[in-house]
Symmetry: C2
């Protein structure tokens, strides 16, 4: 088999299960990839992730480039050894981060110039350079440099940016062929919220020699209806034989909708970020542990959850930790929220195998939104 | 056997190994008890502590009384269940904390009145009440209420405070006999830095029916020489058949000196506190991971250490985490520093068994202080 194999298609939706053949260990899809921006999934040890069944995490070239620097990680023997993560790592090129910098970056046809947020020093990312650096990190899946534009851009700029992103995609493939990286390379479909540009990008990226296709530039501030409309439209022009990766989506309802459309891979800082804010996913919606009602609630965060936090600790205890500013609150909530998404996708896979994803999806939405 | 058994005395020092017969699991001494003030050893899960061989931790009545409140913990089924800790818990009475409050507390012969630092509400701790509450928590070792005085107090106040502490000790024993707690009760020797008062306290507490004897009011700001001089002097008047607990000592050199004098039990916030500040114990002294020299140092924190952090992570990585404000830095350093003290005491026990503690001690001090 090749890099990706579709195992089972749901009979009544686009949802599907698949297998990513990756260097370290194969990964079942649909999969949620926890974000380890700075070489750590916030508040979690590698072993807590192993215990949850995590087989792939994200790293971010942009952040690692600034701190501790690519040279240090190379010297350590690559990102896996540096952060003691034996399974797979997908590295983001940093396009999204650089383009979030606003005034302190400048886009050129050859790449993007930006100032370090740490010390103000000037740097330049080109499509070739980000591939080389991701290869230096030892990335299992590398992402091309792309230009991620704001929700509000007009047709002209959207087209210009899309053209650059497509040119960079071509350059990236050439760059990758020049080096000996064992990592896979994914292209990224941009095109803002303008259908004709999205369509052109989706078709162009599909025709190129990428192992997988990412959809970028969505879930950047627009309402959920728009996200899903553009997602579904974009998917119509994507080569569905390849694994499809929705960048930056991580809420349970969003995941389920995208799985229904046929998306295979997800990442998002959401589950770990809301943890540090006291929130927890449950099958009956998100709860916030700060709520005084949980003060003497000795049930687990989620009764049906099998995570370490739910097996051993109560809402009352985690609320106490949170109110006492104890680090363990962030740890336990992070364990729970990441596990919750893993478990949700495992349940989704089961439903797909039984040709019952739509029903599973409807039920999940019903419980999640009606509390 | 009774509550405490001395297993082996070192031939050439007062150092000794022993066994505390506690309800949940027996504990080898000398032992360091990590501090879980607010029902959590900061930054560590229960299982990380189990994995290190931890069999007893501290809880603090004063903090738990204020947040979440004793009623909540009673409702949870006790402190062990609340915080999911299956082994032993020693609870401090809160004397030290209340007496640290300065202006917002008032000592009376019947107990001590104080204002909550959380909401300013008024509270009263009596010797009876702190025993009852520790019993409600399900404490395995309860501490009496004592009056901890500043380093600088004069003879008159030192004597008055000591008298109150001894009266409270008597009251505490009566209070404990009235309830059905299975916990052991430890008396506390106070007496400031005045020899005659220390001696009187040591003798008086030794004559009372306590399962163990704690030495309080040391390591409160005085120099180390004074601490050890008063410690050694105090120990001369203590019933050495009982387990002896030095409250609030946790640096490697201090532990070794006190073990040499015959102390069996220790607690301190130090190992977890310095972790959040980037420091790590090693056999060659304390290092601070912020130091730029560690930027490309791929050795573990301590080469001879078998802790989770040292087995899997490098100084360079932990430095990167620390500089990036990542929670995992605190977690890994806390794992290491607590484990380091456990391991140090295990090595001390081995040396005692081989009648070689003094030599072990000298060597340790030599390496630790010469870097």
């Amino acid at each position: 088999m090749g890099f990706f194999k579709i195992i089972k298609k749901d009979a009544r939706s686009q949802a599907r299960t698949g297998l990513l053949k990756l260097g370290k260990i194969s990964v079942d899809t649909p999969v949620f990839m926890p974000v380890g921006t700075k070489a750590t999934v916030k508040a979690l040890t590698a072993h807590q992730l192993y215990d949850m069944g995590c087989k792939i995490i994200l790293g971010n070239l942009y952040h690692l480039y600034l701190q501790p620097g690519i040279e240090i990680i190379k010297k350590a023997g690559g990102l896996h050894r540096f952060m003691h993560w034996d399974y797979n790592i997908l590295t983001d090129s940093g396009g999204f981060q650089v383009f979030s910098l606003g005034d302190i970056r400048k886009v050129k046809d050859e790449g993007v110039e930006f100032k370090s947020v740490i010390d103000g020093s000037r740097h330049f990312f080109s499509p070739e350079k980000v591939i080389e650096m991701q290869s230096d990190l030892g990335s299992d899946i590398m992402m091309v440099l792309d230009e991620c534009i704001p929700y509000t851009e007009d047709l002209r700029y959207t087209q210009d940016a899309a053209k650059r992103t497509l040119d960079w995609a071509q350059t990236s493939i050439k760059a990758k062929n020049k080096i000996t990286s064992k990592g896979a390379l994914f292209g990224i479909v941009q095109g803002g919220f303008i259908r004709q540009v999205r369509k052109f990008c989706a078709q162009s990226i599909s025709e190129m020699d990428f192992e997988g296709i990412a959809i970028g530039g969505l879930s950047v501030g627009e309402d959920r209806g728009t996200t899903m409309e553009i997602l579904a439209y974009t998917l119509d022009y994507i080569d569905r034989k390849k694994p499809i990766y929705f960048m930056g989506l991580g809420d349970p309802l969003g995941l389920m909708e995208a799985v229904q459309c046929g998306v295979d891979m997800f990442d998002c800082v959401l589950p770990t970020r809301i943890s540090r804010n006291g929130s927890a996913f449950t099958d009956f919606g998100k709860i916030n542990i700060k709520n005084s009602g949980y003060g003497d609630d000795f049930r687990p965060l989620s009764s049906s959850c099998g995570c370490y936090a739910c097996k051993h600790y109560s809402r009352a205890y985690i609320r106490h930790l949170y109110k006492s500013n104890e680090i363990l609150a962030s740890i336990l909530l992070s364990v729970h929220n990441v596990y919750f998404l893993f478990d949700l996708l495992n349940r989704a896979k089961e439903a797909i195998r039984a040709d019952g994803f739509s029903q599973f999806h409807r039920r999940f939405v019903h419980h999640y939104t009606n509390g």
